[in-house]
């Protein structure tokens, strides 16, 4: 169809009307010819009306879209921020040495045991010969590269806080090249912070735009920007309650290994496993796309994308499994057994595997929607 379409010449009348509609008549006589044609032909007038109407519709939609009129202001703000951060950033230094540890060094803390290395500022001279090796190990250990353009500065903006109101919640925080430490309740969250939920239950991060992101036990994230969260490691669960985006505002992005989920305002979960990624939607509408196909999910629907074949597979949404760990949603997971330690709930056994817990009435995948608590309104 495409080649046939290309081969067909454009009728001269259509071309003339098109030029007239676009203000592209090349001569006075051509314009007069167009006007005469319009005056004498209802078909030509209808043609002009349709061409103009298409233009109006497209212009209106484009201007109201994220690439429309609001984008310039957003970009200017981002450029200013980038320039400010570039000025504030210290000179590049061989910082990895400071955060590296020899492979043989004992894991002094739970944080170190999962790849976050404690700072060893006093060792630099003594283990200078090991620095290169340690740097290499550190790079391998990190696994998740810093995205291009990510601001790296101790002066990074505050973008939210960790209330830490969940019972016995513990959050480890690593900022810049500092060693990881207990964030402490009420901690301010800044761009570049790396966080890990060391507690046995999920805990919420609150962002300044009103969004909330709950980290499952053992889940680690990096706050790449005020609207970008990157999951670290190969496994973990997030529950995202994303504030609706303003016109022109870029989408909120959750990045998890090779998976990226961009959202405008909805509630959903992302469940990462080495062999699949599953998105379950509780509110809003989500388009899931693999390299081969896409699928639109509405509330109570879930799709699993197989890492091997890249296909989207509809799966039953298991509300118990997906959000039972989220503070405030415990009623969907009444049989929670927190004694297994952080890693228990961070490891998934596949979407079709039994959860090991009796299903709640709404969690049987039948499509019944769980009743979710209302979103916060103070965001």
């Amino acid at each position: 169809m495409g080649s046939r379409e290309h081969d067909e010449p454009i009728p001269s009348t259509d071309r003339l009307i098109g030029r007239f509609a676009d203000g592209e008549c090349r001569t006075e006589s051509e314009r007069a010819r167009a006007e005469a044609r319009l005056a004498g032909s209802p078909d030509a007038r209808a043609e002009l009306t349709e061409v103009e109407r298409v233009g109006e519709l497209v212009t209106d939609a484009l201007e109201a879209s994220p690439i429309g009129d609001g984008l310039a202001a957003q970009i200017k703000q981002a450029v200013r921020e980038s320039a400010r951060l570039a000025k504030a950033a210290p000179e590049p230094a061989p910082a990895p040495v400071a955060v590296a540890r020899p492979a043989s060094a004992p894991a002094a803390s739970p944080i170190a045991s999962t790849g976050w290395s404690p700072r060893a500022p006093q060792l630099a001279a003594a283990i200078a010969a090991c620095a290169v090796v340690a740097f290499g190990l550190w790079m391998i250990d990190r696994r998740t590269p810093v995205p291009e353009g990510t601001p790296e500065t101790a002066l990074a903006d505050a973008i939210g806080r960790w209330p830490g109101v969940e019972a016995s919640s513990t959050l480890a925080l690593r900022r810049g090249d500092q060693s990881a430490r207990d964030a402490g309740r009420g901690a301010t969250l800044r761009v570049g912070d790396e966080l890990r939920n060391d507690g046995r239950i999920g805990t919420f991060l609150e962002l300044d735009d009103g969004s909330r992101v709950a980290l499952g036990p053992g889940a680690s994230v990096r706050l790449v920007a005020s609207d970008r969260v990157e999951m670290l490691g190969d496994r973990g669960r997030l529950f995202c309650e994303i504030a609706r985006r303003r016109p022109g505002q870029r989408s909120f992005t959750i990045k998890a290994r090779s998976t990226e989920v961009a959202v405008l305002g909805t509630r959903f979960t992302v469940d990462l496993d080495p062999v699949f990624a599953r998105v379950s939607v509780f509110e809003g509408k989500v388009r899931v796309a693999s390299p081969f196909e896409s699928d639109v999910l509405t509330p109570s629907e879930a799709s699993r994308v197989d890492e091997v074949d890249g296909r989207c597979h509809r799966v039953a949404l298991d509300a118990v499994r997906e959000i039972g760990w989220v503070p405030g949603y415990e009623s969907y997971r009444p049989e929670i057994e927190p004694s297994g330690g952080p890693s228990d709930l961070g490891v998934h056994d596949g979407p079709s595997a039994p959860t090991g817990r009796p299903a709640a009435p709404s969690g049987d995948g039948s499509g019944d929607m769980p009743v979710l608590p209302p979103k916060r309104k103070d965001g």
Binding site: E24, L57, V58, P66, A78, K285
Partner: protein, 220 residues
């Protein structure tokens, strides 16, 4: 569902680029960009000297070009917005590498295009890319409509229109976006796409033909 009845759309922009005969210019006398205010080269020099405001003028001037290029390549307007922002930040950082400040627009366009292609490549290599198709009221600016029904109706129309534009082949999407987002002339589009004016006209005609078929209900 898409409503058959559509609200009348009469934005200042649509009037400006669709002049009726009484206001239609005889000729597009300008070739290339119609630039008001300081020339690009001047702004580039000032931006290099640290004047952020000068770069912001370039942002104002070329955001729609960037958005159009990015959307043409990605077919995803959310990604296009992100790519555009990223490209401007890259351009700002690399401003000293620009050898010919008069060619800022072309240079920026290349950065945007490269970034957009990168985005597409990464998206294809990812196991999953998901983005939200929000509720009608959340998709697009609602404007100042006092009538919520009309407002929701308009949002649905916009959603439908954007989906159809996104579904066009890239070479059609490109000319449509340049024409209707940035209001470029055929010559402007030709300059930025490397096509002849005649080719631009043909593509625009065919792209509009496709959209007219797809918008049949909206055009009644």
């Amino acid at each position: 569902m898409l409503a058959i009845e559509t609200p009348a759309i009469d934005t200042p922009r649509s009037r400006a680029i669709h002049p009726r005969a009484e206001s239609q210019p005889l000729l597009r006398a300008t070739a290339g960009w119609v630039v008001s205010g300081p020339e690009d080269a001047d702004l580039v020099h000032r931006a290099r000297a640290g004047e952020v405001e000068a770069f912001e003028m370039l942002v104002e001037r070329y955001t729609k070009l960037a958005g159009g290029v990015a959307f043409s390549v990605t077919g995803d307007y959310h990604a296009a917005a992100d790519v555009s922002q990223e490209a401007f930040i890259k351009a700002h950082r690399a401003l000293n590498d620009l050898t010919n400040p008069e060619r800022f627009a072309a240079w920026l366009r290349n950065i945007v295009r490269t970034s957009a292609i990168d985005w597409v490549r990464k998206a294809r290599s990812r196991g999953i890319v998901a983005d939200v198709e929000p509720d009608a009221e959340g998709l697009i600016d609602q404007g100042d409509d006092a009538d919520p029904v009309a407002s929701a109706n308009r949002a649905e129309v916009r959603e439908h229109v954007m989906a159809e534009v996104a579904a066009l082949p890239e070479h059609y999407r490109e000319v449509i976006v340049f024409k209707y987002l940035d209001g470029m002339s055929y010559e402007d589009i030709a300059e930025h796409t490397g096509l002849t004016v005649e080719a631009v006209e043909s593509r625009l005609h065919r792209a509009r033909g496709r959209l007219r078929k797809r918008f049949r209900n909206l055009l009644k």
